[in-house]
């Protein structure tokens, strides 16, 4: 009461709380939050991999500051990074293991939780075989944890039905690199943004998703020509010299068209083609199906623009093409990645500073799981089914070769299908939240309901954790140690700054301890493993001689140098900024890259009278994934507290809505209500955009179970939907003409013209 009166009278203006104070490392900062120590680490959000320091005061994380000595971010951080310490202290943290009793989660001991899960796993294995256990992990753990988890799942639980949420974001890049270049592994590096003369961003909205990459663009002194290819005029499009408003999911046709023009004009690099590639003849023949006018009809891009793009890329001293989910999250994501590789191979725009087909990764350590995680390949990019590779791996880690899986198990979506069929009975989900992030939510929920056991291991009480039978309370970023590898293959060090919240444990500890509940598993797989470094040392041996070679890396080196880019070995002791330079050959048998004939295919779910609008989904800079980490951070969440739908003014006037009104969206699979309208020219008529972060306006209720056959990545970016406003509940009518037929129409017009002129002449 007295305090209330005092506050009302404004007696205390809290000068103490808001004063500044001198910090010897970073200068004047907030006195109240002045740390006792600064701990070097790496950001745990996206794949850019920014170096930072965590300020710790009285055992609590209070500050995050960009590391100016780190080559990735040079002291800068994005809004999520700058407030990352708040994430550790979020009130949606899981503080102890939980078990569901009578439909409610109750706190249990770690022993109870491990016992319950191990017993159920053993029972399922006994009754249905070990492959009835499925595991879906993430791109969020540390590399040491991924290696440990993968090893336990594949060699301990003996199931290869193991995949990560990385299949939802970069699997197509993995498979595309593999089929073109012989191995996974992003080719370029951030420095290439500084060195390139032409930078093409295709399906990549770096302004929202990877803002720190803008630093490297800003550092480029050559005034590069920036080309942004996107159906949406995103924040990134604003930096474009040429914005290419491509029709949704016609990217593969566009790239093929550019290759056609390059060959037609003789702009290709014949020397590079003959020295470093296979399949040129077949490609050239195949490209005859993609003449400029046809490509223009498909993509909606004028022929003269196509020529300009082709000339810019082929003619540049150094051309960089970077992409993210606009390319990957597609039914033909893998082939589109390969098409981009084709473009760079025929022009020789690869393996030099500023020249690369460069996939930007989404998560902080998607790379770590790609390399070590036992999902899309055996550790070290060893292919499943490669006898020699399996033996090599078995020998290094001293296990019988027959333990090593010989084929890839089910991919993410196939795991869900297998649960639906009753084939998989127990599912272990680690640090991901499919109940917001996966496509076709109604189908997913029905499938998960059939499980005998659902275990969720997470630091945050996510939507998926809510329905779990058992919850493992995991530590998060800042509470555990290891390494992350970023988009440019840079391995970065993350130190532990504070103790895990409550009774939570690091994912490394959880996996190793759980393995102890299975006979001989811990002894065989993790003999005398005590800390993540034990896993790292084994991983170094496993990766030695592979493309992703970590053998020359030490933790100390990472701290001193601000990360090291693999391959790092005796040959490249400082690491390697880029792949496929003169001294790093392609990982195919004859060390030549494959030029591939790739076919553009129209949308699987074409627009119809009932669903005449294309839905595009994506991110906003303030939120992370399914918001488990960012929704409690007010400064981020306030800026984007709910989903919205971007609508072109033409469509808005047809629906009789304006900005701030609310509408419903529906597809063949479901309907979501109450999405706030943002009328904007950043989307074309007939196209809408909705961010995917939000569980209340769950946009993945609408998206379809359509996956890239090669990578298993969902086709998130194009869904046929309808919009329903209060005044126009039936929604929009299909207005756009079908693409095919346009050419016919033009031919007829031309014939008509010729006939007429002939008549006049006669």
């Amino acid at each position: 009461m007295i305090q209330k009166i005092k506050d009302f009278l404004g007696v205390d203006i809290k000068e103490e709380k808001y004063k500044l104070s001198d910090d010897p490392v970073f200068g004047r900062i907030s006195d109240e939050k002045k740390p006792d120590k600064w701990v070097l680490s790496t950001c745990g959000y996206c794949g850019v991999g920014c170096g930072l320091y965590i300020g710790v005061k009285d055992g609590k994380a209070v500050y995050t500051k960009g590391n100016p000595k780190h080559d990735v971010n040079m002291g800068t951080l994005c809004p999520k990074g700058l407030s990352e310490h708040q994430m550790i202290n979020a009130d949606n943290r899981i503080l102890s293991p939980l078990m569901k009793k009578d439909g409610k989660h109750e706190k249990v001991s770690w022993d109870d939780a491990y016992r319950e899960v191990s017993n159920k796993f053993k029972e399922v294995t006994r009754k249905h075989g070990s492959k009835a256990i499925g595991v879906i992990s993430t791109g969020q753990l540390l590399t040491e944890e991924f290696y440990t988890l993968g090893k336990f799942v594949q060699l301990g639980l003996r199931t290869n039905n193991y995949d990560g949420n990385t299949t939802l974001c970069m699997a197509s890049a993995v498979m595309g690199y593999k089929q073109s270049l012989g191995s996974d592994g992003p080719v370029g590096c951030y420095e290439d943004f500084e060195e390139a003369d032409v930078i093409t961003l295709i399906g990549a909205n770096i302004s929202d998703n990877h803002p720190i990459l803008k630093l490297h663009l800003a550092k480029n002194k050559k005034k590069p020509k920036i080309i942004v290819i996107d159906p949406r005029f995103s924040k990134t499009a604003q930096m474009a010299d040429i914005f290419v408003p491509i029709k949704a999911r016609t990217d593969l046709a566009l790239i093929n068209g550019l290759c056609y023009i390059i060959l037609e004009q003789g702009w290709e690099n014949t020397e590079y083609i003959s020295k470093h590639t296979n399949g040129f003849g077949l490609l050239k023949k195949h490209l005859q199906d993609y003449p400029p006018q046809e490509v223009s009809n498909i993509t909606g891009i004028e022929v003269k623009v196509l020529y300009e793009l082709a000339r810019s890329i082929a003619g540049a001293d150094a051309a960089l093409t970077a992409w993210t989910m606009g390319v990957n999250q597609s039914y033909m994501g893998t082939d589109t990645v390969s098409a981009i590789n084709n473009l760079h191979l025929i022009t020789g725009q690869i393996g030099r500073p500023g020249a690369a087909p460069f996939s930007i990764t989404g998560q902080c350590n998607a790379m770590g799981t790609r390399e070590t995680g036992f999902t899309s390949s055996l550790p070290g990019y060893r292919n499943f089914g490669d006898e020699r590779a399996a033996k090599e791996y078995a020998d290094i880690v001293k296990i019988p070769q027959e333990w090593v899986p010989t084929e890839r198990g089910y991919k993410y979506a196939e795991i869900i299908d297998a649960i639906e069929r009753g084939e998989i009975k127990a599912l272990w989900i680690v640090a991901t939240n499919p109940l917001v992030s996966f496509v076709n939510q109604d189908k997913l929920r029905a499938a998960l309901a059939k499980l005998e056991l659902l275990v969720v291991q997470d630091a945050f009480y996510s939507d998926t954790a809510e329905i779990a039978d058992v919850v493992f309370a995991a530590g998060t970023w800042g509470e555990k140690e290891g390494v992350y590898t970023n988009s440019e293959r840079r391995c970065n060090r993350a130190n532990k700054a504070v103790e895990p919240a409550g009774e939570a444990k690091s994912d490394f500890d959880i996996v190793v301890e759980l393995s102890g509940y299975f006979q001989n598993v811990r002894e065989n797989l993790f003999p005398s493993w005590k800390k993540p470094e034990d896993a790292f040392n084994e991983w170094k041996k496993v990766s030695k001689g592979q493309l992703c070679d970590y053998s020359g890396i030490t933790y100390e080196m990472l701290e001193e140098k601000g990360g090291v880019q693999w391959p790092c070995n005796e040959q490249n002791p400082e690491g390697s900024p880029r792949l496929y330079t003169d001294d790093i050959p392609f990982r195919t048998k004859d060390a030549k890259a494959n030029l591939l004939p790739l076919e553009w295919i129209p949308l699987q779910e074409p627009l119809s009278q009932k669903f005449p609008v294309i839905l595009n989904t994506g991110r906003t800079v303030e939120q992370w994934h399914t918001r488990t980490k960012t929704k409690t951070i007010d400064i981020l969440n306030d800026l984007a507290p709910e989903a919205w739908v971007d609508i072109n003014p033409d469509d808005a006037s047809r629906l009789q809505v304006k900005s701030g009104d609310r509408i419903a969206l529906s597809s063949v699979r479901g309907r979501i209500e109450d999405v706030v309208v943002r009328v904007t020219q950043t989307v074309a008529p007939g196209n809408v955009f909705v961010p995917f972060h939000f569980n209340e306006q769950l946009i993945n209720t609408l998206t379809s179970s359509s996956f890239c056959p090669k990578s298993g990545e969902p086709n998130y970016k194009q869904t046929a939907i309808q919009l329903h406003s209060e005044k126009v509940p039936a929604g929009l009518k299909l207005s756009e003409k079908e693409v095919t037929g346009l050419l016919e129409h033009q031919k007829i017009e031309q014939e008509f013209y010729i006939k007429n002129t002939q008549n006049i002449e006669a």
Partner: protein, 522 residues
């Protein structure tokens, strides 16, 4: 492992960004005597990532809802020829800062050497007049601290050669600190490089921020928060304070006229009447302290007589009320009418100046719906209630004959107030520089407050016109006193409602905001 952390002094370390960003230290040439610091914002570099906003709050320990730096968004063109324009703005460190000029407690300081405008926290009383005055909406009231706070260009860091938090954080190098010559800036540069769409003309306060804008700008840019429409703070203590002091002024005018007539032989007003005319002001003035963050320091509001209309109002109305109470004493001790009339003329003069100063508080560019002649007219116009009040006192005392002419005068004044109100509404449609804000004010009237408007109109017609007319006709009836008393209540309700609408419907100048957060000001 943290022991092995190669932690060093990053203040003396230069990252190779080739820009000011990233570095915790900043290299700026030493300021010459005619030079200051300013912000440069490069809108062609900004990608709208909001790093600067978060970095600012982290630096200054501010909670999420206190934003010294804000990023606004606007858009123009037709797909695919679109322009998205971002504006990251904190304080523009004006050469003629409206915050500083209006501040009644001299709590703003423009540091002479650097040109940085800082806020002196301890002397601030939380009156928030600066938040009204700044056409950029820069100063923001910090509820927890009961005072206003704002960007100070991290001057404590700059003094040590350290970069401001926003400059350090921007991954595009879009925010920089520059050294410039204010004299040259004012000569012409400001018109070329000082303006940004959606912001007030930089000349109004002589803002110093230099803007780099895209070469080709669309004719029309729509702010991302264009659809936002919400009433402003209703300022209830001020609703009562202003209306009550204005009633007192009217009543005192009546008293003065009566006293003047008493010299020519009419009945002289009584000390009770002198007391009654003083009461509304005596009640209203202290009420105004309730809107302060720190009401105990209300008296310091008179500090800045030199430039602040708020100081002038506080002083003049304080003196006015004081003189009115002395006047009561003069009546009580039946001083000679000549002395009284002289004294009352003086008091009235102070009162008129006080209400004028009160009106001038609202004649500010930053708040277009206030910044109109009709504001001043309506402020004085409220005084008709005071005349009725005095007439009521006369009726109670049975001085019906004296009451009648006063009633007629009051009725005329009420009609004038009716006209001012009409004119106030009508002139919202006038074309001018700030049609967007005035248009939104109009929408607020229509979409949020039609009921309030009907109350205002109904109570005015019945309370200020019809009933008083009736009273004039049947002044000798036994109902007259009661009826006039009732009509005074109605007309007061009418004016309180109107004043409430005055505050609630103001739409201040500001920057383009964000789609969800708007301008991030309360």
């Amino acid at each position: 492992m943290s022991a092995a952390t190669p932690l060093e002094d990053f203040i003396n370390y230069k990252a190779d960004t080739g820009m000011q960003c990233g570095n915790y230290s900043i290299d700026l040439p030493e300021l010459q005597e005619d030079e200051n610091y300013r912000f440069h914002f490069d809108a062609t570099a900004c990608v709208g990532c909001r790093c600067c906003e978060v970095a600012c709050n982290e630096q200054n320990n501010n909670p999420a809802d206190i934003k010294w730096r804000r990023v606004g968004e606007s858009e123009g063109g037709v797909f695919p020829e679109v322009t998205q324009l971002f504006n990251s703005m904190s304080c523009n460190h004006c050469i003629d800062p409206a915050c500083l000029i209006g501040c009644p407690t001299n709590s703003y300081i423009k540091i002479e050497e650097t040109g940085i405008v800082i806020h002196d926290d301890p002397s601030c009383i939380g009156c928030q007049y600066c938040t009204w005055n700044c056409p950029y909406g820069v100063p923001t009231f910090h509820e927890e601290r009961s005072i206003v706070t704002k960007c100070h260009m991290c001057h404590e860091r700059l003094d040590e050669g350290q970069s401001p938090a926003c400059v350090q954080a921007c991954p595009s190098g879009a925010i920089e600190i520059e050294v410039f010559k204010p004299k040259e800036w004012l000569e012409s540069e400001i018109d070329e490089n000082g303006n940004m769409p959606h912001l007030v003309d930089a000349r109004v306060t002589n803002a110093t921020t230099r803007y780099t804008l895209p070469e080709h700008m669309p004719d029309v840019l729509t702010a991302a928060d264009d659809h936002h429409l919400k009433p402003s703070h209703s300022e209830m203590p001020l609703v009562f304070m202003t209306v009550l002091t204005q009633i007192s002024l009217g009543a005192f005018l009546g008293l003065f006229l009566g006293d003047l007539l008493s010299i020519s032989g009419k009945t002289s007003p009584s000390w009770i009447m002198a007391l009654i005319v003083m009461l509304p002001a005596a009640l209203g003035l202290p009420l105004s302290a309730l809107h302060l963050g720190r009401p105990l320091k209300a008296m310091t509001a008179m500090k800045n007589i030199k430039t602040s209309w708020l100081s002038r109002e506080a002083l003049a109305l304080g003196v006015f009320t004081g003189l009115m109470s002395v006047n009561v004493v003069l009546y009580f001790f039946e001083m000679s009418a000549y002395i009284r009339v002289f004294f009352e003329a003086l008091t009235l003069g102070v009162g008129v100046y006080g209400i004028y100063a009160q009106g001038m508080i609202y004649q500010i560019v930053a708040r277009p719906s206030w910044n109109r002649k009709s504001t001043l007219l309506k402020f004085f116009g409220v005084s008709y209630i005071g005349l009725f009040l005095l007439a009521f006192a006369l009726l109670v005392q049975g001085e019906n004959e004296a009451a009648l002419p006063l009633m007629s005068l009051a009725l005329l004044c009420a009609l004038a107030q009716g006209f001012f109100t009409y004119e106030d509404k009508r002139s919202l449609n006038d074309n001018g520089t700030y049609t967007t804000e005035l248009g939104k004010t109009k929408r607020l009237y229509e979409e949020f407050f039609s009921l309030h408007q009907n109350i205002r109109l109904g109570t005015f017609i019945i309370g200020a016109i019809l009933l008083p007319l009736l009273v004039t006709v049947m002044v000798n009836s036994s109902f007259a006193v009661g009826l006039l008393g009732f009509s005074i209540i109605l007309m007061s309700v009418s004016e309180f409602t109107d004043r409430f609408l005055f505050y609630a419907t103001v739409v201040p100048l500001n920057m383009a905001g964000g789609f969800f957060v708007g301008k991030q000001r309360h």
